[in-house]
């Protein structure tokens, strides 16, 4: 099966999104770095193979897997039921809190202030879907999906949109980078925690089992906390949900 194939071939090819700091981005010499990049490297080490980072924009993650161009997605992919109809999801390997980032000129100070404003998020992400729903519920304002996280923050800093909801890690990383003047994280968004999973082909149970165990081991050995500290900082979020078996 695929697990054997990976071990046999000696390389693990991971789909990683590289405009999604701190999970994935490029350093000054335009090489890939980030939490997901390290996570993939750890997985490769565990398997005893070398890692190959395949950059995939958000919309390209699934086709890359389906066509066998990558083995595993380490791409901050929300584990929605809709998507699980198409690909096989592991247990969560990371969890995002949602934060509101606003352009200071817009006067948005909290999630509620976003009502009636122009807001945006990265198309197809968990938070985009939730935010779009919310805008509809409010009945005023406008929602704009951009294709990359970078475009969202670019639009935000230009004032094309007033505020965005993104994962708090991304929000912090972008604001801290100093690239964007006049932006600040103004609060949390009252959305459920966004659990993200590794994914591979739906029928590769052997591999999925291995990945589940690997995620478990990462937490157990403290590597998860270590990586979190390195890329995000602070208390690593809990990956379990109370009151239910998985």
């Amino acid at each position: 099966d695929k697990l054997d194939d990976i071990i046999g071939s000696g390389t693990l090819r991971c789909a990683v999104v590289l405009d999604f700091p701190p999970m994935g981005s490029r350093d000054a010499s335009n090489n890939p770095v980030g939490f997901d990049v390290d996570y993939c490297n750890d997985l490769a080490k565990a398997l005893g193979v070398t890692a190959e980072i395949v950059e995939t924009p958000f919309p390209e993650r699934i086709p890359a897997l389906m066509s066998g161009r990558v083995d595993v997605g380490v791409a901050s992919t929300s584990d929605t039921l809709e998507r699980a109809k198409t690909v096989g999801m592991t247990i969560p390997y990371f969890a995002f809190e949602m934060a509101v980032t606003a352009n200071e000129k817009s006067g948005v100070k909290s999630f509620e202030d976003m009502k009636g404003k122009v807001v945006g998020a990265t198309a197809g992400t968990y938070e985009a879907i939730a935010l779009e729903e919310q805008v509809k519920a409010w009945g005023e304002g406008e929602f704009r999906p951009y294709q990359t996280q970078a475009d969202v923050f670019l639009a935000l800093s230009q004032g094309q949109i007033d505020a965005t909801v993104s994962t708090s890690t991304v929000a912090q990383a972008n604001v801290k980078s100093g690239n964007f003047a006049g932006l600040s994280v103004v609060g949390k968004a009252p959305f459920d925690t966004d659990y993200v999973a590794l994914f591979t082909n739906r029928e590769e149970y052997g591999l999925i089992n291995y990945l589940n165990l690997f995620i478990n081991q990462q937490v157990r050995t403290g590597r998860y906390a270590e990586l979190y500290e390195k890329w995000v900082g602070g208390e690593a979020p809990d990956l379990t949900v109370g009151g239910v078996y998985r």
Binding site: S25, N30, E60, G68
Partner: protein, 217 residues
């Protein structure tokens, strides 16, 4: 005038993007032209009725947005487990896209050679192949070349869309730099200038050829 954080390294990165744009263009136009040539000859020889299925197939590539074609092509190859890298997928889709336009150019070129000239060739004892090679090909090339150059430039510009599949071509390279450096206008202007520098002289040359060759000779 511009106070920029853009480094030499980043310019090299843009250059690599431009090289990718050119690579995709060259491969696609080469493959597309070969296919277009074959299809065009078939189309001319078979006549409008018999070449209908071929024309319908090619028409799809001219009536559906390239973006959709790329996404679909990529999805299709992934479903078929072909395992193509984005470069291959991009080139395959763009080649077919090129071929669809090229077919008409080739057909038009062949049709522009007067029947009597071809008859003159055949009546000297030349075979169909010799006629095609020594008479039709050179004459049709003159008629078609300006349009073909236009097509090539069109494909070069349209190839920007392959960024959708994750290929880092010129526009995508610029976007990456914009993300890091936050100087959208400056970097995009450089990007536009590079496109212009590649495209404009060739376009002018095409226009020159058109004027030069427009009646005959």
């Amino acid at each position: 005038m511009f106070d920029t954080a853009l480094t030499w390294n980043d310019l090299v990165f843009l250059g690599q993007g431009a090289a990718m744009t050119l690579a995709v263009t060259v491969v696609s136009v080469a493959a597309g032209t070969i296919m277009g040539f074959v299809f065009g000859v078939i189309r001319f020889q078979a006549g409008p009725v018999w070449s209908m299925p071929l024309m319908f197939f090619l028409d799809i590539f001219r009536s559906v947005p390239l973006l959709i074609q790329l996404v679909l092509g990529n999805a299709l190859q992934s479903i078929a487990k072909l395992g193509w890298p984005p470069f291959t997928t991009s080139c395959v889709v763009l080649s077919l896209y090129t071929a669809a336009y090229c077919t008409e150019i080739v057909r038009g070129g062949i049709a522009s050679v007067p029947v009597t000239t071809r008859r003159a060739a055949r009546s000297l004892g030349m075979t169909w192949g010799q006629d095609m090679r020594y008479i039709v090909a050179p004459l049709a090339t003159r008629v078609s070349l300006p349009a073909w150059i236009g097509l090539t430039l069109g494909v070069m510009k349209d190839s920007a869309l392959v960024l959708w599949l994750g290929l880092i071509e010129l526009l995508r390279a610029s976007q990456i730099l914009v993300t890091r450096l936050q100087e959208p206008l400056f970097i995009l202007l450089i990007c536009g200038a590079i496109y212009f520098i590649i495209s404009f002289p060739i376009a002018r040359f095409g226009g020159y050829l058109e004027r030069r060759w427009s009646p005959h000779d």
